[in-house]
């Protein structure tokens, strides 16, 4: 074995780490059986898509443009001879690159890749994680939900599934309509669930609090289920549509036994609308004291060229593996979690 120089063990001396990695703890966090289960899961997924004629693709992990979403922070690579033109962003998802493939007529495509999100660490979060992302031209979000359920059943075994609209779920759990309730009503409901202390924010903050504190615990009792048709303000990259007099984003989230596993869209294909949403994100970022991000002009050009009507979904593979193995802490399922990598 080659000894590791002491100076490289805990990173650069100018940036002391709050919790230095104990070098003695070099072993993986996962068991060998769990590593085999991961390999079997990957094989099952590749078989599933091969049988359905979906093409496996790869796109870059290091991208010249980041994303504007104010709730997701990328990790940025700044050092190296290849970075003369500027820093590169470790992808937070392969979405933009895959849409550029759809725009040249790739047809249905999927990818299994690493994605990175800064500051997300916990029992179900690791800053580096594995995503399965796929796109289906000619299918709306309800059609894609059915395919997501089929994939999950092929991985975890057959089981029933249900879908609830965002509105219906809030009405059931909180007896309030998330589209029409006054801000004060949302805050009052939040105050019954937790001490919100000094939280300040608009409707979306309070809706997110009610979702995480009341709706998600209820969804945890519904087995395999989807939440769909979100408020327009939370549409992200989904198309807007009218439902019962309200504008909704045709977006869905998959929950399995309360674990949020996937997020999908009936994809927005309008370049002008996409540009407006990027710019709105950047205004929000500035309001929150975050730096604005340059827009991904390559994606906008691809949408300008023409994106076929399609739905797409990103599914957290580590979480799916957690459900398949019964492991409750992602750090014990990854060969080397963030702390050990």
């Amino acid at each position: 074995m080659i000894p590791v120089p002491a100076s490289t063990r805990t990173g650069s001396a100018s940036k002391p780490r709050s919790r230095p990695w104990p070098v003695s703890d070099w072993r993986p966090g996962a068991t060998l059986e769990q590593l085999r289960q991961r390999a079997r899961l990957l094989a099952t997924i590749r078989d599933f898509f091969a049988a359905r004629g979906v093409l496996e693709v790869e796109t870059p992990l290091l991208c010249s443009r980041g994303i504007t979403d104010p709730a997701i922070e990328p990790l940025i690579v700044r050092d190296g001879q290849s970075l003369a033109a500027g820093p590169r962003y470790l992808q937070t998802s392969p979405e933009y690159a895959m849409k550029r493939l759809l725009a040249v007529g790739s047809g249905p495509i999927y990818q299994i890749c690493k994605a990175f999100r800064d500051g997300e660490a916990g029992r179900r979060h690791n800053p580096e994680f594995t995503l399965l992302e796929w796109y289906r031209p000619g299918v709306d979000h309800h059609g894609l939900m059915a395919e997501v359920a089929a994939l999950v059943c092929s991985c975890l075994g057959e089981r029933p599934w249900q879908a609830f609209s965002y509105r219906e779920a809030f009405q059931r759990c909180l007896q309030l309509d998330p589209f029409t309730a006054e801000l004060a009503e949302l805050q009052r409901a939040a105050g019954q669930l937790t001490d919100p202390g000094t939280l300040v924010g608009g409707r979306d903050l309070w809706l997110d609090l009610l979702l995480t504190h009341a709706v998600e615990p209820w969804l945890a009792e519904q087995g395999l289920c989807f939440l769909y048709d979100y408020p327009a303000s939370q549409a992200a990259l989904s198309r807007l549509a009218q439902r019962d007099g309200h504008t909704v984003g045709e977006r869905f989230e998959l929950y399995i036994d309360g674990v949020e596993v996937a997020n999908g869209y009936h994809e927005l294909a309008d370049a002008a609308e996409q540009r407006a949403r990027f710019e709105a994100d950047n205004r929000q970022r500035e309001a929150w004291g975050q730096s604005p991000r340059p827009l991904d002009e390559a994606l906008l050009a691809a949408l300008e060229h023409g994106l076929p009507a399609a739905s797409g979904v990103a599914l957290g593979l580590d979480r799916l593996l957690m459900l398949a193995t019964g492991e409750t802490d992602i750090r014990r399922l990854l060969a080397f979690s963030w702390e050990r990598s």
Partner: protein
Amino acid sequence: MANFSTNEFRPGLKVMLDGDPCSILENEFVKPGKGQAFNRVRMRNLKTGRVWERTFKSGESLEGADVMDRTMEYLYTDGEFWYFMEPDTFEQHQADAKAVGDAYLWLKEQDSCEVTLYNGSPLSVAPANFVELEIVETDPGLKGDTAQGGSKPAKLSTGAVVKVPLFVTTGEVIRVDTRTGEYQNRVSK
């Protein structure tokens, strides 16, 4: 004191919240698929003892609290304050009735106990889990009545009243679990 971000909140960490020192009991990171991430934090207010759940935006931070737990020797009370001594430095601290709370029922001179200091002053006092105290008053014992499991109240030297078996008599020393206030056994003098 240093500031601690929500992702550094760990059980046992002491922070300042709304002017009071608090201890973190549990910290859960929750995030809807998109949107605002929160930390649901169970904490105990060390002044009032209240335990509750507060929600923070992930990334918010709180100032650390100057709170330390010290093992000290209980010296005496003058009726208004209770006096404790650090065994290594002989430094003495006086605690008021609010800090001592119900612990006075189990404090015997020269016993060790846990004193929580906040900015150098006693904030709370926890007696040892088991203490040995003398019975100063109880009904006369019934010889031979060891099997029936009946009980009677007994007043201890500190003023605490505990239930003891019928055969235990005044002047005897007994061992008590201070967490439950339950009699454990007689202690030979």
